[in-house]
Symmetry: C2
DNA sequence: ACCTGAACACCGTTCAAGT
DNA sequence: ACCTGAACACCGTTCAAGT
């Protein structure tokens, strides 16, 4: 048992994840063969299997990287003082930065977690992190009297996530540029959902 | 060229779609082999290929059947007189009738349309039908002064679809029973989005 | 037209063998 | 530990042959 070369190991893994993601986006998870990845990364099947136990393990690695992308997209909410303003900025970032590549990968993953418990757990971890970010920002805003004090924020946070995910699903149908078309209506809808109820006359 | 036996043909196709859908839900599209479907339907590969040109054609057949399910789920909106009431009923139906089976199949399809133009077109057809149903109901409601007259209903209809799809995505993460948890918050949110703006004091 | 089953090129994964 | 490439069981699809 020789000692592991940590630097080589992490470099090779990163390289594999990168070429694999490119192939998965173009041809899908099941349309990409291990040989495709081997060729793109200039290594034999044996070597590939030395770094990843299976094709599924490669997807798991990609999901872990998705956590960082999600962080970046929701970053305006992390230390926000005005929720609607921050959420609006986050939506702008999503609309301008999310590409067809990202959407394809996200959809591919969605199908895969259906039957692979390990992948589902990895995806749930990313989702819980997103939930925590949104809920935290909402709590600060409600404490600051920006929101209707009667709102149950645990449900509202899920609703916000559902709305964003729904927009991303529409973008997979209509193309990523459709996100920009829906921005104004989405922001207005959020404002109506969150603000203190106006008194009826 | 003998004449086609229409009755046999449509029976066999229906049978194939049914056993295929069952397999796809349990094992996924790519986890199901043509041999699995052959065995379940008691026929040889040659016979299967006589009725469907490819595995993709089988999915296309399933998407066409999805159109009917969607119709049923949104049926309260078809001849509605009170939009919020009808939409609320539609959401109740969705929450009570959508199963893990349906969600798995829907997600599987989502991944597949990414790289198959024919499947994407079939899915877009279902989506346009859903859009037409929601928009139609919204227009009637706005004409009837139930909604804020300033709302751009073409965008609102898409937003409603996005919200429903987002809830379905959450259900694939948290299980179909989570839909019931989100119903009250979702209905309240829709009410706030749609109703005429209250005058500020 | 409807059906069979062998055959084809290809897949993910394993493993004996090398350094 | 890191790497090779042949070999294994299996995949979607085709096709000559039957009724």
């Amino acid at each position: 048992m020789r000692k592991r070369n940590e630097k080589l190991n992490s470099e090779r893994r990163k390289q594999i994840l990168q070429v694999a993601a490119q192939w998965f986006v173009k041809r899908g998870f099941h349309g990409t063969s291990m040989k495709d990845i081997c060729d793109a990364a200039n290594m034999s099947p044996g070597t590939l299997y030395h770094y990843f136990e299976s094709k599924t393990e490669i997807i798991a690695g990609i999901i872990a990287e998705e956590a960082q992308i999600m962080e970046a997209l929701l970053s305006p909410l992390r230390s926000s003082t005005a929720f609607l303003q921050a959420m609006s900025e986050a939506l702008d970032i999503i609309a301008s930065e999310v590409t067809e590549h990202d959407l394809a990968l996200h959809t591919e993953i969605a199908a895969e977690i259906q039957r692979q418990p390990a992948l589902r757990e990895a995806q749930l971890k990313v989702d819980r992190q997103a939930y925590a970010i949104v809920l935290g920002a909402l709590i600060r805003a409600q404490g600051d009297k920006q929101l209707d004090p009667a709102l149950d924020l645990t449900h509202i946070a899920k609703l916000v996530l559902a709305l964003v995910d729904g927009l991303l699903w529409r973008a997979t149908l209509e193309g990523p540029q459709s996100l920009k078309d829906y921005l104004p209506a989405t922001k207005e809808a959020l404002a109506r959902i969150l603000r203190a109820k106006q008194r009826r006359t």
